[in-house]
């Protein structure tokens, strides 16, 4: 049986951030995830925003963590080489009724210690964001709302944790957790049993099922679907800021914002559903986004859509972000209700969890040789001509452009496959280097990516999957 100190269940943003934080200390950590790749669920389909927490419930754990996390990203993005940009958010009021709500929103921001929210006139907002609905009466600007590459953030946490000794067991499902004398004993998985002192449940959508294994399921996860559009980089109507609607009692509403790679993101919806796996987009959802966002940005051109997708927020009932440790179950840490702010608060949650473990009596010693930084995959298209020249000279595969929409080279795809915790699937490649994320959606590069994966992983093309087991891209050979 494998032995470790901590098992983290779930390799999403929060799980990987916790693993990375733990890797600063002399402690053995294994991250277990049922998916074939890190960041494989809620962390890959969200709005990719690093929030400030201006609209959180003041005094809540979520407020504390989000507000603390936001300022950490500037340095974190540098350390871990994650694309990140402080673009700021605009909250425009289109009606008198909305306009009257602005002071209340600003006041709430103050209660959350977000002091840099500023009031702007309609004219000022239109100067900042010319594509805004000209009826805008005024609004708020929240300067530190930012955008990030959510895939790379999780990969970066994971790769850095890995570099500092954390083990990852992917394609591994937790089937049971064994306890003994009121303490965690081991985690049973589809790839064997792991003896451990701690279990950190950051299984998001499935955290209630994990909690049930130790009899701590006093809540139920309710999936809340959010549908999105991604628009072409060349779309006729763009915005430079995160444009948010004034929230109603029911919903935070649908926004439009740039992605860190220059596309436009439009959405999301918010529909609760029974299923934890159904991520289908719907006519109703997509239509409601179109209607609502045109209110903010009337000329948004959804004909320039390159993809639509949806994600499931792991909401819980009763509501709210929860962190729980138990006197009668030593070594068990339960995280639940990590919703749309999960990506933002991940970095703070890592620190919070470690601190809580220390406060519960665990003696953690800092490592002498912790590696604080991680280098990402070099993006050929973003280099100067001289640097491109040098890259090809050093490795001719950088001269083979595989994805024409995003100008992604074979050199980058090779790096994505062969780096630690590298890509094993077509989506794994896509989320690391963006091959297939452009306007043709893999029409041209898809066949080549299958060929490269098959060659590099030394498996038959029919073993190559889109994402998880069973998602095989092709069924065999035309001619055997």
């Amino acid at each position: 049986m494998q032995k470790t100190d901590v098992v983290v269940i779930g390799a999403g943003a929060v799980g990987c951030a916790i693993a990375r934080e733990l890797s600063k200390y002399c402690v053995d950590v294994i991250v277990v995830d049922k998916n074939e790749d890190v960041g494989g669920d809620a962390s890959k389909s969200n709005s990719a925003i690093i929030h400030t927490g201006y609209d959180a419930t003041p005094g809540s754990l979520e407020s504390q963590l989000v507000v603390a996390a936001n300022p950490m990203y500037e340095q974190l993005a540098k350390d871990l080489d994650v694309p990140f940009k402080k673009v700021g958010a605009i909250l425009p009021a289109m009606t008198d009724e909305q306009f009257e709500k602005l002071p209340e929103i600003k006041e709430k921001a103050f209660k959350n210690h977000v002091y840099d929210v500023e009031f702007k006139t309609g004219k000022e907002l239109l100067e900042m964001e010319p594509n805004l609905n000209p009826q805008v009466k005024g609004g708020l600007v929240i300067p530190r709302e930012s955008i990030i590459d959510p895939f790379i953030l999780v990969q970066a946490y994971a790769e850095n944790a890995y570099a500092n000794g954390v083990k990852f067991m992917l394609n591994t499902k937790v089937t049971d957790i064994k306890t003994e004398n009121g303490a965690i004993k081991s985690v049973v998985t589809t790839n064997g049993e792991i003896q451990t002192r701690y279990v950190i449940n950051s299984a998001a959508l499935y955290c209630d099922e994990i909690a049930a294994m130790v009899g701590k399921a006093d809540y139920k996860v309710v999936a809340r679907k959010g549908e999105f559009y991604i628009l072409d980089k060349n779309t006729s109507c763009k915005v430079d800021h995160i444009v948010l609607p004034i929230p109603t009692k029911v919903t935070k509403g649908k926004l439009m914002c740039p992605t860190i790679h220059g596309n436009m993101l439009v959405g999301p919806t918010a529909e609760e559903q029974e299923s934890k796996i159904d991520k289908s987009t719907t006519y109703n959802g997509l239509e409601s986004i179109a209607t609502d966002v045109r209110n903010l940005v009337p000329n948004v051109n959804l004909k320039d859509t390159i993809t639509q997708y949806s994600g499931l927020r792991p909401n819980r009932n009763p509501e709210g972000l929860h962190f729980d440790m138990y006197d009668d179950l030593k070594g068990y840490v339960n995280l639940s209700g990590v919703r749309s702010t999960g990506l933002t608060l991940s970095v703070a949650m890592g620190k919070y969890v470690v601190q809580q473990i220390i406060m519960h009596g665990e003696k953690l010693k800092l490592k002498e040789n912790f590696i604080p930084t991680r280098k990402g995959i070099v993006k050929f298209s973003e280099q100067s001509r001289e640097e491109q020249e040098r890259l090809i000279k050093e490795n001719p595969l950088y001269g083979n452009v595989v994805c024409r929409c995003e100008t992604i080279t074979e050199g980058e795809i090779m790096d994505a496959i062969h780096r630690p915790l590298g890509a094993k699937s077509v989506d794994g490649v896509k989320r690391r280097v963006r091959a297939g994320m452009g306007r043709c959606q893999g029409g041209f590069c898809g066949p080549k990516v299958i060929e490269i994966l098959s060659r590099e992983l030394k498996v038959d093309p029919k073993e190559i999957t889109k994402h998880n087991q069973g998602s095989n891209m092709v069924v065999g050979k035309t001619r055997d």
């Binding site: 060929e451 035309t478 001619r479 055997d480």
Partner: protein, 118 residues
């Protein structure tokens, strides 16, 4: 027996009606040119098609040789021909129009390569 045949000789796409029995044409209606008339008769009696497909290459695992029938093949024979073609292997080098299968399924038609391959 009556059969509607859409002409594929030119983009005009005449919808022709052929009447007849046991492979004998009695009448053709709504054709516009002699080529169309000929096509309608052939389609009624014994339709033919150019068959294009791929042949496995001995020396290459992930590449196939595109081939065609050098003349139209009886439509009714296409499935039989495919069975033979699927089990055939070609060897490099290959020149365009090299015969890959001679007189496939006794149709009097050859399967030939449509491209050069080294």
């Amino acid at each position: 027996m009556e059969k509607l045949i859409i002409c594929t000789v030119c983009p005009r796409g005449c919808h022709m009606t052929v009447k007849g029995d046991n492979g004998v044409v009695e009448s053709v209606e709504n054709y516009s040119c002699p080529r169309g008339l000929e096509y309608a008769k052939t389609e009624f009696v014994a339709p033919v098609r150019i068959l294009t497909t791929l042949v496995k290459i001995d020396e290459k695992e992930n590449e196939l040789l595109p081939v065609r029938s050098n003349k139209p093949i009886l439509k009714s024979k296409i499935e039989d021909c495919m069975q033979v073609i699927k089990t055939t292997k070609a060897s490099l080098p290959i020149k365009r129009y090299d015969v890959i299968i001679k007189n496939v399924c006794d149709t009097g038609v050859d399967i030939v390569a449509t491209k050069d391959l080294k």
